[in-house]
């Protein structure tokens, strides 16, 4: 049996002889997801409609893992709201309308240009595995069978793009107390924006994966939003509240969105008083967001299988 080699390289400032696995920049027994394409998709919107379908036929014989992001020129794609200049990008909608099968990615309710980040790694293995591919360029490939196995079985394959971290951290957002009026008083809606500068020159793939709808915090916490909370935790479980609270009729709205543009990572915090004339003081909050910004543009197409 052929000997399987291992590649391990410690993160900057760590000693490989003492480093645990989380302190390694590369550790080939833990496979690297392989991004083979980024594809721009523009919805086909019939005249008189506000949204349309778009799809991408990926050409693989199986459904691949994916992420996707949407481009927005206005907050929530609403020209009456905050205008973004330059445009910003947001993690795409979840739920059934955007889905992947063995032939295509499809979104049945798109209104915006979107970008699909396509992995070679399968969501479901095909009945007949594809042959391994050639590269025609220097290639680092580590796996059980480098000759006959499909590329997606390799633990490491430099033919494909990896999720390289540009920067990572926790953004602590101090949202100040705000005395709102009802909508008749004219001071019923407020945005606070918090930023991290990445200066990459392109909108990067990022986490957490807060979708276009944003986090409805008043719904998630049933109007008892903690003074301090971590947005990542709410994002994991918010789906459980959405249907349970179907018909939710909160009047003091608080929500959180995440965007990126070519230079910055944004956390947007929106508060809104939906009453007609009842003044309301929104309390101060500390919102923590654990974020990762990858060294990979959202909006730059490529296909490493072409």
């Amino acid at each position: 049996m052929a000997k399987k080699f291992i590649l391990e390289i410690a993160k900057a400032g760590k000693d490989l002889t003492t480093a645990v696995n989380k302190d390694k920049a590369l550790y080939s027994p833990m496979f690297l997801p392989k991004i083979y394409a980024v594809k721009k998709m523009t919805p086909d919107i019939p005249e008189g409609w506000v949204s349309g379908d778009y799809e991408y036929e990926h050409g693989l014989s199986y459904p691949p893992m994916y992420l996707y992001y949407e481009q927005q020129n206005y907050f929530q794609n609403n020209p009456a709201s905050v205008e973004f200049d330059p445009e910003r990008y947001v993690y795409g909608s979840q739920a059934r309308f955007a889905n992947m099968d063995g032939t295509r990615f499809a979104n049945k309710s798109g209104s915006l240009d979107a970008y699909l980040v396509c992995f070679l790694d399968p969501l479901k293995s095909p009945a007949t595995a594809p042959e391994s591919t050639t590269h025609g360029s220097p290639r680092l490939k580590i796996g059980e069978d480098l000759v006959d196995s499909p590329d997606y079985l390799a633990d490491t394959d430099s033919k494909y793009q990896t999720l390289k971290v540009h920067m990572q951290g926790q953004l602590s957002c101090s949202v100040p107390e705000w005395e709102s009026t009802g909508y008749i008083g004219g001071d019923a809606i407020k945005f606070n924006w918090f930023t991290v500068t990445h200066n990459l020159g392109y909108p990067p793939v990022h986490t957490p994966f807060v979708n276009t709808v944003g986090l409805s915090l008043d719904m998630a916490y049933e109007d008892s939003i903690p003074t301090t909370f971590t947005a990542n935790d709410v994002n994991d479980s918010w789906a459980e509240r959405w249907a349970y609270d179907f018909g939710w009729a909160g009047v003091y709205i608080e929500g959180l969105w995440i965007y990126v543009d070519t230079t910055k990572y944004y956390v947007g915090y929106k508060r809104q008083n939906l009453t007609a004339s009842t003044a309301h003081t929104f309390p101060a909050r500390t919102v923590k967001v654990n974020y990762t910004i990858f060294n990979l543009p959202i909006n730059e197409e490529f296909n490493l299988l072409a």
């Binding site: 390289i9 690297l32 969501l123 999720l163 994991d236």
Partner: protein, 153 residues
Amino acid sequence: MAMTPVLYTARKGKDVFTDNARFRTIDSTKNQFKVFASGTETFSLNSGNSYSWSKTVSHDLGYVPLALCWAYFAEPNDDNDNMVKVEKFTLTPYAILQGTDPMTASLVSSMERDTEDVVFKFFEQDDILEFDSVNNFTLTDMVMRYLVFIDQE
């Protein structure tokens, strides 16, 4: 001064030194997100499991790792009176509540992550505030695929 060795590889046609770092496919000076645990599971939601199923991945990393999950989902049948499985993958978490007649439960996929475990949850939510009662529905051979990274998000 000691040199620090690096490992760079680039996309085909790109130069690891002169082209922008985004074209490097591997770059040992940066952390690359690595998969600690992964798997594919097939499950059903029915009266036998109270329309609820979960997958727990124990990691004991001491911090909350990034996790991703894609799964089959459900949509109304042609008569709009029940929900049926769709053999396509969508990203989780999700909550799917459709206006079928009679009303059916919502299909929910969510996640719990802590310093020891990642739990991927799939269940039907029938205690919806707006409705006195809703019907559950059976889903057989649902498929979910997950990744748990060793890296924090």
